[in-house]
């Protein structure tokens, strides 16, 4: 009897974790997907997709940008952490950088590297150039500048994840003990990193790294800003198809999105299988040695400085451009200034307000839903939700938004703050859940046994013990969540239906005619709001401690 009761109780608890999640995330998302994907069972549409002259080169481009950006940012992040993991400021600054929306960064970054950009102007001072050089920087056919921009944007994310993982008391104690053993066996720091730390850290980061890869392979806004055009990455073709007024072309876009997602899923499964197969080969490397190689601290520091410098230059450049209206080549400084762009914001502050409430609202809800799940649902079900979250992020936001729009039509949610909030929750929860899953599940259960043994209740245990330990991970998840919500465009536009506006909506619509001052001002705001919010949060967190 007591056992059945406990069983029922257990079930109820699991249900308590699931219900809000189901109502607020799974339901709108899956209903949206179902509505959006109805056209994908038409063979003629698939035929139309495969006769698109750019489909395969575009797919190749998507896969190379995704893979190259993921691998490079992981390598660079490991180098930074290996060299500098004791610097606490590292975590704060990286957190600030990772909260910056991708597009805002890409806009500023392209102002820096394009042939008429700041870099060329500085070089041009020595060359006495009258016209911009015919450099192939932005829009290079191989997508290298897109990859560089992605790497600059993802290194802070991966660094943060790694530092967050290693800073946790349980993990750090374990690693410290292991490094003592390693040292006494004659391994240098670099060898320890390669042979002991990374093999333990990497598996715990597989889901976040998966979304870094998927992001790079399916990014649209950044690709339009600095990526190649003939052909563009596949996601750009899909996006432009989904945007058309022609239903046949819309259908081709939906099918294209399903195709890209299936290819990514197949490759992810293939990769997982391959790593299992190749484990023995890795093992032979792991047990070789010892090697006394030291960690290249100097290059790690240089790399970190370089990344921070790029971010700071980008922010300064955006600030100058938001005031300078005419800035012809090769001048190093705009020739005409006006405050037009900023007046705009001053006249209509409502979008700013909406952006902030939507970002905070969706971020807090996502954290709440994720924690509820982790506390109430067994870890073995995580993989299903993780897979759902990855799918939600792999599919184009326009496709999901269109489906949600159809569903919301029936409930009158379109045109309301709540409708937009639910739409933002789709990607925000997906990111938050993926970022949190590793750290949250790795929490050492012995803490709980000990504290319950000391007669503390669950709540007290959670607030006094677990929360402080989880805080870095939670702050990171919050930063990502805010950045993701602030950067939403398609879902906001469609579901707001002109009844409310956000900063990013203003940014995209007002700069659709190419006004660089407005574009720079909004990009700057979209960058510094999450950045400052994050810095402020980690400040108060430290003060409280």
């Amino acid at each position: 009897m007591a056992r059945t009761l406990r069983h029922v109780n257990h079930r109820l608890k699991a249900l308590g974790g699931l219900l809000p999640l189901g109502a607020m995330w799974i339901l709108p998302l899956s209903a949206g997907l179902a509505a959006a994907l109805t056209s994908t069972f038409d063979a003629a549409v698939w035929a139309a997709l495969f006769t698109h002259p750019q489909i395969f080169p575009a797919l190749a481009l998507s896969l190379t940008t995704g893979s190259a950006s993921m691998i490079l940012s992981t390598l660079l992040a490991f180098l930074i952490v290996a060299g500098l993991h004791r610097v606490t400021a590292l975590q704060t600054w990286m957190g600030g950088f990772l909260a910056v929306p991708h597009l805002a960064f890409a806009v500023g970054f392209s102002f820096l590297i394009m042939p008429s950009g700041l870099l060329a102007r500085v070089v041009g001072v020595f060359g006495d150039w009258a016209a911009p050089p015919q450099w192939i920087t932005t829009q290079d056919p191989l997508g290298l500048s897109l990859i560089v921009a992605l790497v600059l944007k993802e290194v802070p994310f991966v660094t943060w994840l790694t530092v967050g993982l290693m800073a946790r008391r349980d993990v750090s104690q374990m690693l410290e003990a292991q490094s003592r053993i390693g040292h006494s066996l004659g391994h240098g720091a670099a060898s320890l990193w390669l042979r002991v730390f990374i093999p333990q850290i990497l598996p715990r980061m597989r889901w976040p790294l998966l979304i870094v890869w998927i992001y790079g392979a399916s990014v649209v806004d950044m690709a339009i800003a600095i990526g190649p055009t003939q052909p563009p990455p596949l996601a750009v073709i899909i996006w432009s198809d989904l945007n058309s007024a022609d239903q046949a072309i819309n259908a081709r876009g939906s099918v294209g999105a399903v195709f890209l997602t299936l290819v990514l899923a197949a490759l992810a499964v293939l990769f997982a299988g391959l790593t299992r197969l190749l484990k023995p080969t890795f093992r032979s490397f792991l047990v070789s040695g010892p090697s006394v190689e030291a960690v290249p601290v100097r290059s790690a520091r240089g790399l970190l400085m370089a990344i921070a410098a790029v971010y700071l230059i980008v922010i300064m450049l955006l600030a100058i451009m938001s005031f300078g209206s005419l800035w012809p080549f090769p001048d190093l400084w705009p020739s005409q200034f006006q405050v037009m762009a900023w007046e705009h914001l001053w006249d209509a502050p409502e979008p700013l307000f909406n952006s902030l409430t939507l970002a905070l609202g969706s971020m807090i809800t996502a954290l709440f839903l994720a924690i509820l799940w982790f506390e109430e649902v067994s870890a073995r079900f995580d993989r299903y939700l993780l897979a759902a979250a990855v799918v939600a992020l792999a599919l184009p936001s326009l496709l999901i938004a269109e489906g949600q729009y159809l569903v919301f039509l029936k409930s009158g949610l379109n045109g309301t703050w709540w409708g937009v909030y639910l739409a933002h929750l789709s990607p925000v929860f997906a990111y938050v859940f993926i970022v949190l899953s590793g750290p949250y599940r790795a929490f050492d259960p012995r803490y709980r046994s000990v504290s319950l043994g000391l007669n503390t209740n669950n709540w007290r245990f959670w607030t006094a013990i677990k929360l402080p330990i989880m805080k870095p991970a939670l702050t990171a998840a919050a930063a990502v969540g805010i950045g993701v919500s602030i950067a939403q465009f398609e879902s906001t536009q469609l579901i707001a239906s002109g009844r409310l506006s956000t900063l990013n909506l203003e940014a995209v619509t007002l700069s659709s005619g190419g006004n660089r001052q407005l574009l720079a001002m909004y990009s700057l705001l979209l960058m510094i709001i999450p950045f400052c919010a994050f810095l402020a949060a980690s400040r108060t967190e430290r003060r409280l401690q």
């Binding site: 750019q54 394009m114 016209a131 015919q134 002109g498 619509t509």
Partner: protein, 399 residues
């Protein structure tokens, strides 16, 4: 009431007769439309990528509020196709109080809405100010990309393919496609156009088709693959000759006209193109381009078309939307819009139909960056040519 009026109108349009009695009845009808419009809110979905245009729409917002008691809200959008999809979804879901009351539209977006029966009307010919429209001199006010408007959209302004650049750097602007090829040859890497399906890019390719085709009249008919294959080779010969001299040797293209324009402002390109004949002047006024900027068109004419406003079939405030559409056609609103110092969008009205007072509203003169010598406007090919042009362009130059 509006339904019966629409039926009546359809009947008269179909029979080709417009008896006096009917116009009297319509005047009474219009008074009641204005009556009902009072206090209604119109959500006007309009592209918002240009500051002078937004300022103009803001002026309209104030005017219709004080004159007709209509609250006009400018819903800023980046692309009208989004409105087409939104309205289509709403209508399919049976939503009758739609999110859009008025939309700024033309071309393929209009064709899609008309084909899917997503538009309210016909209403345009019944607007009191429609009588001023220059339907004879500007036939595109009744034919949107060769698609008859059937009164489902009301003309708002005229557009024409126009080129612009810095007069200090361009001694002789190219006044034909052949001269453009020579210009690109003389300035390698400094000319480009947006990649289709960006509609500016598609328009440039259409212009190339018009300038190389033997018989232009064929473009008025519905396109077929065979017909396109038959008439397009000279166009591809021209583009094949042009591309090696373009920016990045014609292997990469800017994605949008906005990007093209920015590359001109940065000095990366020598010229850009636009559909708004006064855009260059707007950019000079907005301090985005230097005072020395010039604008020009091909001397034998360039593609011209009309842009319209339409009312979705499920609009909530159809009366107020018509009142706004009518105000946009008024000589006063059209004159302000055509003023080169504001937006500079050419009027759809016939000067001959205006009174002396109304005529005097239209300011004349030139500003820096405005067109000096007007050229004939060549009507758009029928909309069915667009997908064929875009697909063929992609096949030739997409990879």
């Amino acid at each position: 009431m509006p339904i019966s009026r629409r039926h009546l109108l359809k009947a008269t349009v179909a029979s080709g007769l417009l008896p006096m009695m009917l116009s009297l009845a319509r005047a009474a009808d219009w008074a009641s439309i204005e009556d009902r419009a009072k206090g209604e809110t119109v959500y006007f979905n309009a592209w918002a990528g240009s500051q002078p245009i937004n300022v103009y729409i803001n002026w309209v917002v104030n005017e219709v509020k004080s004159r007709y008691g209509v609250t006009l809200i400018h819903v800023r959008i980046a692309d009208a196709a989004e409105v087409v999809r939104r309205v289509r979804d709403e209508v399919r879901a049976g939503k009758t109080d739609g999110s859009t009351d008025l939309v700024w539209i033309n071309g393929e977006n209009f064709r899609a809405m008309k084909a899917d029966k997503l538009l309210f009307g016909p209403f345009a010919p019944a607007l009191p100010n429609f009588k001023y429209v220059d339907t004879e001199g500007k036939p595109t006010t009744l034919n949107d990309f060769a698609e008859p408007t059937d009164g489902l959209e009301s003309p708002w302004g005229m557009a024409q393919l126009t080129f612009f650049g810095d007069g200090a750097k361009i001694a002789m602007p190219p006044l034909s496609m052949a001269e453009l090829v020579q210009f690109a040859q003389a300035n390698p890497g400094r000319v480009s156009y947006p990649a289709p399906p960006d509609f500016h890019g598609t328009t440039f390719v259409k212009q190339a088709l018009i300038d190389t085709i033997g018989q232009r009249s064929v473009l008025k008919s519905v396109a077929t693959k065979e017909l396109f294959a038959h008439v397009s080779p000279p166009m591809f010969t021209l583009l094949d000759g042009l591309h090696p001299h373009l920016w990045r040797e014609g292997k990469q293209f800017p994605q949008t006209q906005a990007q093209l324009k920015q590359m001109l402002a940065d000095g990366e390109l020598l010229m850009a193109l636009t559909f708004n004949p006064n855009e260059a002047a707007n950019l000079v006024a907005g301090k985005e381009l230097p005072e020395t900027t010039i604008a020009w068109q091909f001397s034998a004419g360039t593609i011209g078309n009309t842009h319209f406003v339409a009312i979705p079939v499920n609009a909530k405030a159809t009366d107020a939307a018509q009142v706004v559409a009518n105000f946009l056609l008024s000589p006063e609103a059209q004159a302000r819009k055509a003023d080169l110092k504001t937006w500079g969008d050419p009027t759809v009205l016939a000067m001959a139909k205006l009174s002396q007072d109304e005529l005097s509203l239209f300011a004349s003169g030139a500003v820096a960056g405005s067109i000096k010598t007007p050229v004939p406007a060549i009507p758009e090919p029928h909309g069915s040519w667009v997908p064929l042009i875009e697909a063929a362009w992609l096949e030739h130059y997409g990879t």
